[in-house]
């Protein structure tokens, strides 16, 4: 019998726990976008988008969309108090200059040394770099939110990325539908595991050897 994996919302919920009070956070497209839905109401997080806005709020309703207020995924935002607007050159100065505390990105592959590939599937032949390379090297902490395996159930956590790289040794933490894994100098450390899954089962879907954390526990939300 196939065991149940964590849903996209649960992955996002687990990532949300990682965001510290007062952090400036950039959320990528896909599962990362969902993270803001699960940040505790009493926590202050400033969201940054490379479209040129800081402290944005929720998505706008279809009826009130405004072409002059979008996030980096092209979704329409609401006008909320405390927002600040700036140009692309400043949006990326914030990123490269170390002013973004956490970025949450999706991934095609993550290597055991923290390499990230997330901008191009080689079979397509073309891809979009967008802001991913800048975020990978510029954000103080890079968290990956992704499914543990691809559509053919092949591991996305690999020894070496075979897809074109976004950045080398940039990932700090990987949250998947099976586990929470830290990229440590000695390798990938399995810290939390989805309910009902065993470390052996997670290892069988992971290419590099996982180091079991001494305090390995069930994924905590």
């Amino acid at each position: 019998m196939v065991k149940e994996r964590l849903g996209r919302d649960i992955i996002a919920m687990r990532v949300a726990k990682e965001l510290p009070e007062g952090a400036v956070v950039n959320l990528g497209i896909g599962i990362p976008t969902l993270v803001s839905n699960f940040v505790a109401e009493d926590k202050t997080v400033g969201y940054h988008s490379e479209s040129g806005v800081l402290n944005y709020g929720s998505l706008a309703e279809e009826s009130e969309r405004d072409y002059d207020l979008i996030n980096a995924g092209g979704q329409f935002l609401q006008w909320v108090p405390g927002m600040a607007f700036f140009g692309s050159e400043e949006a990326f100065a914030m990123i490269r200059g170390g002013h973004v505390d956490v970025t949450v990105l999706g991934a095609l592959q993550v290597s055991e040394r923290g390499g990230l590939a997330n901008w191009m599937v080689p079979q397509r032949g073309v891809g979009n770099i967008g802001g991913a390379m800048d975020l990978a090297v510029g954000a103080k902490r890079v968290i990956i939110a992704m499914e543990h395996t691809d559509r053919e159930d092949r591991p996305k956590l690999v020894k070496e990325c075979s897809f074109p790289l976004t950045g080398r040794r940039c990932v700090s933490l990987v949250v998947t539908d099976l586990a929470v894994i830290e990229v440590a100098p000695e390798g990938l450390v399995l810290k939390e595991i989805a309910p009902d899954w065993t470390p052996e089962e997670v290892q069988s879907l992971t290419e590099p050897k996982l180091i079991l954390a001494p305090d390995l526990k069930e994924v905590e939300l």
Partner: protein, 475 residues
Amino acid sequence: MAERLSRDLIALRVAAELRRGQVVNLGIGLPTLVANYVSRDRGITLHSENGVLGYGPHASDETQDPDLINARGEHTTLLPGGAVISHNDAFGIVRGGRLDVAVLGALQVSEKGGLANWLVPEKGLGSPGGALDMAAGAKRLIVITEHTNGGAPKILKECTYPLTVAHRVNLIVTDLAVMEVTPEGLVLKEIAPGWLVEAVRELTEATLIVSADLKEMDFGFPKEPPVEKVCSSAAEAVADVFDGAVILMDGFGGLGGMAHYLMLALRDQGAKELTVVGNTVGIARVSAFGAPPSPDLQAIDHSILVETGQIRRAIASFPVSPSPSRPSAFEGAYRRGEVEMELVPQGTLAERLRAGGYGVAAFYTPTGVGTVVAEGKEVREFNGREYLLERAIRGDFAFVRAHKADTLGNLVYRGTSRNFNAVMATAADITIAEVDEIVEPGELDPEAIITPGLFVKRIVQRPPGFSPFQPIVKE
């Protein structure tokens, strides 16, 4: 012996060199006096490196504001259409080639165009301030100075004091003469009333070549037509776009921040072999960025220029559709080998444009080290971390989408639609702004102006009711 010119007359003679529409920086001392002869109706923008553009006469005791000073610390005023900018932007304007004239004082000037004006060696200490930037960045460098210092010549064969700049002075105006620095040497062009060439030569160490049309100093101002930036249509604004031009366009990819009216006019104008630089190359039609309000409409984006075969090359960060099942027109043309593409990380693209606009040739960034974008580029280590050398980008034209302009070209944006537009406005020879509304100078808050008018050559207002969508034509 004839009298020398007064300081005011020297300043008047320099003011006669200035032309309508120019951006001018005046240094400390004698240069300051030039401002007295730059009346508002001459259409000259005075730039001060502490971040003031379009300043006017000195403030009176009653009106002075400690938050409005010039680079000399004097209380000044802002003319309608003036703007307050940051120090960084003030010097970006200078290095980026937007400062038409710098007028500086001098301790020494050489016949080769060298200038020394920041340090008297005997004093041991000096302040370069903005002088080195002005001297290196201004398109034309005019030195205004007394011809001698206590009888000792200041116009020399070689400067002996520490240099401000080596070979950049174009014109020297003194209380005795007007001299032009030419490849052949220092040419005496005008001479103060009552003075003979020999008498001037005696007070000059440099070799003076006497101009064939040497004349008495001329204080007349030229008659000039007004500079008109407002175009009546997008077609007029893009009429001179040439085949092979590099055009900076497209804000972020969505319909906000995209100059649709100019893009349509460019399609009709027909220039070919274009290189476009932007975040995307027409993904609005095939993504959430440009979802139409009804299924029989589609967004206007780069696709209209791809379909006509006008685009030859693109430099972009997000060039293709996020969805492989909905390829854009550009992606199709790329797969058929009809267009070339240079892929650039988004932050690197923004910074390459900033460098282009602000006169920085290249810069090192950590972005892209160890990836495909590092191929063929220099990698250098600083403080234990690797960085890539990336080069500046400049455009022949920029199509900028802003919210409002005044008739001087000052721009404000709205929401996230500023994105690449503001930086692109700085990085092209001819920046054309497409706006919702054009207002009179003084109607935009000087503190809120994002793009000062000196970057903008042309302005066009979107026609009332303009739609960023067009009907889908069934083949």
